[in-house]
């Protein structure tokens, strides 16, 4: 079943066409890779889906609902979460609080209840605390729960960012270069990790990545962008052998890289 359908999406920065009639269809449970040289417009596509930018032209349908024109928090509420290319955690908060903030949509108490600790406040706070701790335990981060997030090692911060994205209970998870800054050993762990969270949380995942090993190994389909336009689409094997991709993206040393 189609979860996300992007139809002829274009976006301009002034006179620059950052995304050019881009099409993408994501089916439920799929794991898709979005690749392309630097500046190809991959992150812009993510920003358009999550509402950080308002698209100039085209359609983004999430379970049949138009996303363009919706604000980012409303889009998150529909079930889309993302991580960022550079780690963007709220550094002055603890790990637990970072995860708790992402539970925002599951809470309905009001200011009076906060002040008087009435009714829903206690119950809902306990619920989200328990849920956040469960998530942290699942990712073996519970020992850091009260630690300021800036004190964590880089790899752990990356995982906290993914936990935080999962805490808002998304259907679709957008990962922007999850392997950035990781060594080969960590990348092979990440391979299993991404597949595991997809199955565990029954997610659909779309990821941007430069690490070919990661993309070729776990993605079921790959879309290649160059100058904002799709130049190839298909299974890893198809993309690997596509002459246009080789020319635009992988250059002359294709065989050596792959």
């Amino acid at each position: 079943m189609t979860l996300l359908h992007i139809n002829r999406l274009s976006h301009y920065f002034g006179g620059l066409k950052a995304v050019d009639t881009f099409n993408l269809t994501l089916n439920e449970g799929e794991l898709i890779g979005l690749i392309g040289p630097n500046g190809a417009g991959k992150t812009t596509v993510f920003n358009l889906i999550t509402g950080a930018y308002q698209a100039s032209e085209g359609q983004i349908l999430f379970r049949g609902e138009e996303l363009i024109g919706k604000s980012p928090h409303a889009i998150n509420r529909l079930g889309i979460s993302r991580t960022f290319q550079t780690i963007r955690l709220w550094n002055m908060m603890s790990v637990l609080d970072n995860v708790k903030v992402a539970h925002h949509n599951m809470i309905s108490y009001n200011l009076a209840e906060v002040f008087l600790h009435l009714g829903r406040y206690r119950r809902q706070e306990q619920e989200i605390e328990a849920h956040a701790m469960d998530l942290l335990r699942l990712f073996k981060l519970e020992r850091y729960a009260r630690e300021p997030v800036k004190n964590l090692p880089y790899g752990e911060q990356r995982r906290v960012e993914i936990v935080r994205a999962l805490a808002s209970r998304p259907k679709l998870l957008l990962l922007d270069e999850p392997a950035a800054g990781m060594n080969p050993y960590e990348i092979s762990a990440l391979l299993d990790f991404i597949q595991w969270i997809r199955d565990e949380f029954s997610l659909t995942i779309c990821l941007i990545e430069h690490q070919m090993r990661l993309v070729m190994n776990i993605c079921e389909r790959i879309t290649v962008l160059d100058f904002g336009a799709t130049i190839a689409e298909g299974t890893p094997a198809e993309v690997r052998n596509n002459p246009q991709v080789i020319e635009a993206y992988l250059g002359e040393q294709t065989e050596e890289i792959l």
Binding site: A52, S71, N76, R77, N91, M93, V101, L111, V114, F115
Partner: protein
């Protein structure tokens, strides 16, 4: 309503019993009750600026909201014969109501642009109040000329209804509110918006809503402070709530720090207490207060509140700890000995003796050298290593002499502060022993202020 009145009455009585002895003690060291009242009003204002700054809004509108709260509640008690409590609530709500249409367009701006727009708002409020009588008369007809705000002359002979117990009660309530707010989804969302609003938005937080909520809550708190200060002064004029006041309120947050809501509260109280303590310096009071602010920004970017954080003392190891102990001790010893407050008001402008100025100058030069050397990493046994340990040692000795001198001559009122200062300097000396290690380069700043918000 009666039950509410009874509860408030009882609470005020309890506060009064606790408060009276404290006030008597404060009066002995030179803080009259009116000073304490304004310290508490500043504390309330500190909470209002915290609410906006903690959501990443560099807003200077608080003085304007304070003016609205002050004028509305004063007019209501004087012309409307409303009870003080009701008038206060009306003033606060009026400020909150004005904040709604202001916030919706203005809060789209960020950082310095928001500051400029809110300064504009403050000026508009001031000018509207200045011309309110004429404005109302011309709008509503000349039959019954309005005479509420009296233009630039302001409102005189305001009944002095604000009691210290009221202020303490309101501050306690607000502090309790802040405490609970920070442990709720609203408080967490506001902190998230401050630290990275784009990320907050993609994780389901309605950034516009929370910015407006913080702005309105800040306005309500500032309005309350306005009503309280209006009934504490007897006279209010539009000029009381101008640009200067807005910057003053911002300075509370700078001095106190923003990592906790008690920071601006502390900063607000200190910024009333310090000029009061320095009153005998007459026209130099402002300059010295400014210098203190400057020193805080350079040496303690996290504000006074960062001194209360255990992590601040833990980070940086024993040399940083020693430096801080020494600086706190020096400050105590210096304040007590150099700024004699015993003769407050009586002797007027007391001139410091030349010897004392000499010592201050020497201490300043030594401290500057010490600081420069600790900023630049020196190779082992480098140029600065030995002389600086000697200089630092000399500095400690000078301060010890001043402290001991103070202990002997000033037994009556400087005794404990001198003692504490000396003990701190002594501990610092013990920690930094052996002296070669004095030149150890500083660790990168701890507890430094984080940027208010990050642009997209």
């Amino acid at each position: 309503m009666d039950i509410l009145n009874a509860i408030v009455g009882l609470l005020l009585e309890i506060i009064n019993t606790v408060l009276q002895p404290i006030l008597e003690q404060l009066a002995v060291i030179g803080f009259r009750e009116s000073v304490v009242q304004f310290m508490l009003i500043n504390a309330v204002l500190g909470l209002s600026i915290y609410l906006t700054l903690n959501t990443g809004l560099l807003s200077l509108a608080n003085a304007g909201f304070m003016a609205i709260g002050a004028y509305v509640s004063v007019v209501l008690t004087m012309e409307g014969d409303l009870s003080f409590g009701l008038a206060l609530i009306c003033g606060a709500l009026a400020a909150g109501l004005v904040a709604i249409p202001i916030g919706l367009p203005v809060l789209r701006l960020r950082n310095i642009y928001l500051a400029i727009a809110t300064i504009g708002f403050g000026e508009i409020v001031r000018i509207v109040i200045l011309n309110f009588d004429g404005l109302a008369t011309s709008l509503l007809g000349p039959d019954e000329p309005y005479d509420f705000t009296h233009g630039a002359r302001g409102i005189n002979r305001i009944p002095k209804l604000t009691e210290t117990a009221h202020l303490v009660l309101i501050l306690l309530l607000l502090a309790f509110f802040m405490y609970r707010l920070n442990r709720s989804r609203m408080g967490r969302a506001m902190a998230a918006v401050r630290q990275d609003e784009k990320v907050a938005a993609t994780l389901g937080i309605d950034v516009v809503y929370y910015k407006n909520l913080a702005f309105i809550l800040g306005a309500i708190v500032a309005g309350t402070a306005g009503g309280l200060s209006g009934h504490a002064t007897r006279v209010i004029t539009p000029g009381d709530f101008g640009f200067g006041r807005a910057v003053d309120i911002l300075a509370f947050a700078v001095l106190g720090g923003l990592s906790h809501w008690s920071g601006p509260v502390l900063g607000g109280m200190a910024l009333k207490a310090i000029p009061e303590r320095l009153r005998y310096l007459a026209e130099y009071t402002g300059a010295l207060t400014g210098a203190i602010l400057l020193l805080i920004i350079v040496y303690l970017p996290g504000g006074l509140i960062s001194l209360l954080r255990p992590s601040y003392w833990r980070e940086g190891g024993r040399f940083d700890l020693a430096k801080r102990l020494a600086s706190v001790g020096m400050a105590l010893v210096a304040l007590v000995n150099i700024l004699p407050y015993r003769d407050l008001g009586r002797s007027g402008g007391q001139v410091l003796s030349y010897e004392l100025w000499g010592l201050i100058g020497l201490a300043a030069i030594l401290a500057a050298l010490y600081w420069i050397s600790s900023r630049q990493p020196q190779p082992q046994g480098g140029y600065f290593a030995l002389p600086l340990s000697v200089l630092a040692g000399a500095l400690v000795v000078v301060l010890l002499v001043i402290g001991i001198f103070g202990l002997i001559t000033d037994l009556s009122d400087g005794y404990y502060a001198n003692l504490i200062g000396l003990v701190l300097v002594g501990i610092a000396g013990l920690i930094t022993y052996p002296p070669e290690a004095v030149g150890t380069p500083d660790r990168p700043g701890s507890g430094a202020g984080e940027p208010l918000s990050r642009g997209v």
